[in-house]
């Protein structure tokens, strides 16, 4: 049993011995797809340029090409990037060089934290004040149209200090309005704040609605940031929420923070244009575009000529959800703000039956820099959908004629186009790659020195039993590494290495307790077998108590700490668990195997 558990730990620790391959990773963006043909294209291009490919594989829609060294990696990135064009993102990566058979059994090396591999860590905060302001502005517009439609006369609506204040001329209308509005918007709470002749109804969002608005703002920002990070072409990025208002973005290997920041805060937008039906697409493609129109490419492929005049910009879009019409065909329902609604209704009135196009505009980093050092951005414009206007459109309308997946994507893009609430960076940590390598080296040095001294001491002081303790200690370290590799979320950081080193020093405590107890029992004149039994038995509860309390502090540290400190807490917890196992159960089984059931006169302790 013991051997089996240690063997499993050891097995999963093996991948850490293989190091990493220099690799290039290819991810598809903008509707493209990484397929087997992409794989063979890449392999052929590299072969023709004389670059040896160690191994290339297609996995989870990503292409990973392993190369022999760092220089060839850089050259290969350029070649692949040129060959595939801008529908793909090509990134440098360090891929674990775990052999295939080991990988197939779930073996993978420990993930290294940013402080060990270098990279950028951002903590971004969503400006919830802005999100709430937008929400209440929308509500003001809603109330206005609703009351007007219901022919309830009001004296004024405004966003006041207490909430949305609606003024009326008399109590009767107020009561009528209150009843009506309550039935229409159950996400708001209405309070009658009439003082004297001032008939005021105050509306405030309910707790649940407030929470929902914040949640949506956060989720939408995460989606947007994730899309942008993917565009960055970083291997294994992390975009994750932290608490109610914050988002963590981690970009391993990225050194140029300025560039990363610009892209994360870059804007994408949406514009609606009418399709120029009179224009000849063929003529436009050869350069003869009618005045007032422009040639664009569809995302799905193929050219289309649009009128230059912008009907509406994406700033007016407040929400976009994929849904189904009564024939269960996919569509995207869009709702605009009040101003957008009135503009849109005016324009569409005259264009019923004509096709309208949705243009997606995005600024993408070119990787080059301007003379003044700022990042050169490339404007990318694509037509994401063309649909026929069926009727005069107001604030709420739908875009039809889409595939299910397309509807999903369009809704996402429309939402992602304009951020509900801006984000700003509240924490940033950049670690250079040289510092990362230095940190690993320092950590290993400390580990080797500490471990060596402890091993020598135990051997000299406890001799035979010392050797057993040393075996347990080594097995413990292997198991910590193994468990760290097995848990998908565990990340090794510099404090994590410190935690491992510390575990080495503290793990011997279990053995010291047991051995001292055995010595004591021997001194008190017990037989060898009895002494061993008593030693293990009496020391057990002490070791358990001591370890449980240490484990508790580690758990608290895990709950409070961020990034690197969390890494420390994790290794400490794993170390405590494995050391209890190896120092009590592990050594006991060795001791039993050697001395068990025999008549022994003297112990090597």
């Amino acid at each position: 049993m013991v051997i089996l558990i240690i063997a499993i730990g050891g097995f999963y620790a093996i991948p850490n011995l293989f190091g990493e391959d220099h690799a290039v990773q290819v991810v598809a963006t903008r509707g493209a797809e990484v397929s087997a043909s992409t794989l063979s294209t890449v392999n052929e291009v590299l072969k023709s340029k004389g670059i040896a490919v160690k191994r290339s594989e297609l996995e989870n829609g990503q292409l990973l090409v392993r190369l022999n060294n760092g220089e060839e990696q850089l050259v290969a990135k350029e070649i692949i990037s040129d060959a595939l064009g801008d529908k793909y993102t090509v990134a440098l990566n360090l891929a674990p060089a775990t052999p295939k058979w080991l990988e197939a059994m779930g073996g993978s090396p420990m993930k290294l934290g940013l402080d060990l591999r270098g990279g950028v860590h951002f903590l971004m905060e969503v400006d919830m004040g802005e999100a709430l302001r937008k929400m209440s502005e929308a509500k003001v517009a809603d109330f206005r149209t609703d009351l007007r439609a219901e022919k309830i006369r009001y004296a004024g609506i405004r966003n006041g200090a207490k909430g949305i204040e609606i003024k009326f001329r008399d109590a009767e209308t107020l009561a009528k309005a209150e009843n009506f509005l309550k039935s229409r918007s159950n996400d708001m709470v209405f309070v009658d704040k009439t003082v004297g002749d001032d008939y005021v109804l105050v509306a405030n969002p309910s707790e649940a609605y407030l929470k929902q608005v914040k949640e949506e703002a956060l989720q939408q920002n995460i989606t947007t940031l994730r899309n942008r990070v993917n565009e960055l072409g970083v291997a294994e990025p992390v975009v994750q929420r932290q608490g109610a208002e914050r988002i963590i973005v981690e970009l391993p290997g990225v050194q140029d923070t300025a560039r990363a920041k610009e892209i994360l805060s870059a804007t994408a937008s949406i514009e609606f244009h009418m399709v120029d039906q009179k224009a000849d697409v063929q003529a436009a493609m050869s350069g003869r575009v009618p005045a007032g129109s422009e040639l664009y490419q569809r995302r799905s492929g193929g050219p289309v000529v649009l009128k230059k005049a912008v009907m509406l910009t994406g700033d007016h879009i407040q929400g976009a959800q994929p849904s189904f019409d009564e024939y269960s065909r996919p569509q995207v329902s869009i709702n605009l703000d009040a101003k957008g609604g009135s503009i849109f209704s005016n324009v569409t009135k005259d264009n019923i039956g004509n096709p309208m196009a949705t243009l997606f505009i995005e600024y993408k980093d070119t990787g080059e820099k301007n003379a003044d050092g700022s990042v050169k951005m490339k404007k990318i414009e694509e037509v994401i959908s063309v649909a026929t206007i069926q009727a005069r459109l107001g604030r709420n309308f739908v875009i039809t004629g889409l595939e299910h997946a397309e509807a999903q994507n369009l809704a996402l893009l429309l939402r992602a186009g304009a951020l509900i609430a801006p984000v700003y960076i509240v924490e940033e940590r950049t670690i250079g790659p040289s510092l990362g390598a230095e940190n690993i080296q320092n950590g290993m040095q400390a580990m080797i020195w500490g471990m060596a001294v402890v091993l020598i001491f135990m051997l000299v002081y406890y001799r035979g039993f010392g050797l057993i303790a040393n075996l347990a200690l080594t097995a413990n370290l292997v198991m910590v590494v193994g468990v760290m590799s097995m848990i998908p979320g565990a990340v090794l950081t510099l404090p994590g290495i410190a935690g491992m080193v510390l575990t080495v020093g503290m793990a011997v405590d279990g053995n010291v307790l047991i051995y001292e107890r055995i010595r004591e029992e021997l001194r008190n004149g017990r037989s060898v077998q009895q002494a061993i039994h008593e030693g293990y038995g009496n020391a057990f509860s002490t070791i358990a108590d001591a370890n449980i309390t240490t484990f508790m502090t580690a758990l608290i540290l895990f709950a409070v700490g961020t990034g690197a400190v969390k890494g420390f807490a994790v290794t400490l917890m794993i170390g405590i668990a494995t050391s209890m196992f190896t120092s009590i159960v592990g050594t006991r089984s060795i001791v039993n195997a050697i001395w068990g059931g025999k008549r022994v006169k003297k112990l090597s302790i």
């Binding site: 230095e438 040095q445 500490g450 405590d509 001292e516 001591a546 400190v565």
Partner: protein
């Protein structure tokens, strides 16, 4: 057989308890005084601000760097060596009118004039709000840890012992903080991690002693509480020395070889282990005696201990 301690009979540890307690009290008071007057040199994690770590191609002239950092954005910058003479750490306070990136750009402009091949090794920026929250959470973590321990030890042992062990832990934390304050060492998140580890470690020691005290109360029926405590401390002394020794060895290895980024962590551990070992012998046990611990207090727990079937866990 090689032995560090070969004590015949029992050492009367508690004979020195009173003067040592006074010494402890003085240490704690002194620490509180330095904490009150000098305060703690809070690190970036708690104050917010920006830190830039640079590596120069030759030993850096700190004064030249200071004079070059002349723009308004980087006013009040603290420049110091970090690890070696070529490594420099520049701390920039939070300024409302300037963004962190502007500050970093100004720093890079200034230092590249001095050394064109300077390398930017690390940049960290923490917003003041985040820093404040971390400080609050950190303080809360220490408190929660102490309360959890108090509950656990009361449950496993007895409230007098629990109070003794928590007093010992509070003592360790205050004295370690006092040393950080006195020497004005930087207190960042890793130091907090170190401090909590010290809590765990010191408790480890205390529990080993307490466990033996409990056992001996039941075994030595005729001894006074003082005698029992003395015997227990003597019996666990060699274990305490060995474990403290091995832990110190690895911590010293971390301190010397672990690099600058975990220096604070190693320092906190180094001091904490010294103070912790000493406090678990004197502060914890002495307080338990003063609170009137005796044999009857240990009885009910024994039943539970018997219940924990130890052999079942052995293969």
């Amino acid at each position: 057989m090689l032995q560090i301690l070969n004590v015949k009979g029992t050492v009367n540890f508690l004979r020195h308890a009173l003067p040592i307690s006074i010494f402890s009290a003085v240490l704690v008071l002194g620490s509180i005084v330095t904490l009150a007057t000098k305060g703690i040199n809070w690190g970036l994690d708690f104050t917010g601000g920006t830190v830039v770590e640079l590596e120069f191609s030759k030993p850096a002239d700190l004064n030249a760097i200071r004079t070059n950092l002349s723009t308004e954005a980087v006013g009040g910058a603290v420049v110091q060596n970090f690890g070696s003479s070529r490594d420099v750490l520049i701390r920039l306070p939070v300024k409302d009118d300037f963004k962190s990136e502007d500050q970093v750009n100004d720093v890079m402009d200034a230092v590249t004039k001095l050394d064109s091949s300077v390398v930017q090794k690390r940049v960290e920026f923490v917003g003041p709000q985040v820093g404040k929250e971390l400080a609050e959470q950190g303080g809360l973590a220490v408190l929660v840890a102490l309360i959890c321990i108090l509950i656990y030890v009361s449950f496993r042992f007895e409230w007098r012992l629990a109070l003794g062990s928590v007093a010992a832990l509070a003592h360790d934390i205050i004295v370690t903080l006092g040393v950080f304050s006195l020497l004005q060492l930087e207190f960042d998140l890793t130091v907090l991690a170190g401090l909590l580890t010290v809590v765990g470690y010191s408790l480890n020691d205390t529990i080993v002693v307490f466990d033996r005290i409990r056992e001996n109360f039941l075994k030595l029926r005729k001894s006074t509480p003082e005698e029992v405590v003395n015997i227990s401390i003597t019996q666990t002394m060699s274990r305490t020395i060995i474990t403290t020794g091995t832990t110190l060895v690895v911590v010293v290895a971390l301190f010397l070889k672990g690099g600058t980024m975990i220096h604070g962590f190693a320092t906190a551990l180094l001091m904490g282990i010294f103070v912790g070992t000493f406090s678990s012998i004197y502060v914890a046990s002495f307080l338990a005696i003063k609170l009137g611990i005796n044999r009857e207090h240990m009885m009910p727990v024994e039943v539970e201990k018997e219940g924990a079937d130890q052999d079942a866990l052995m293969p």
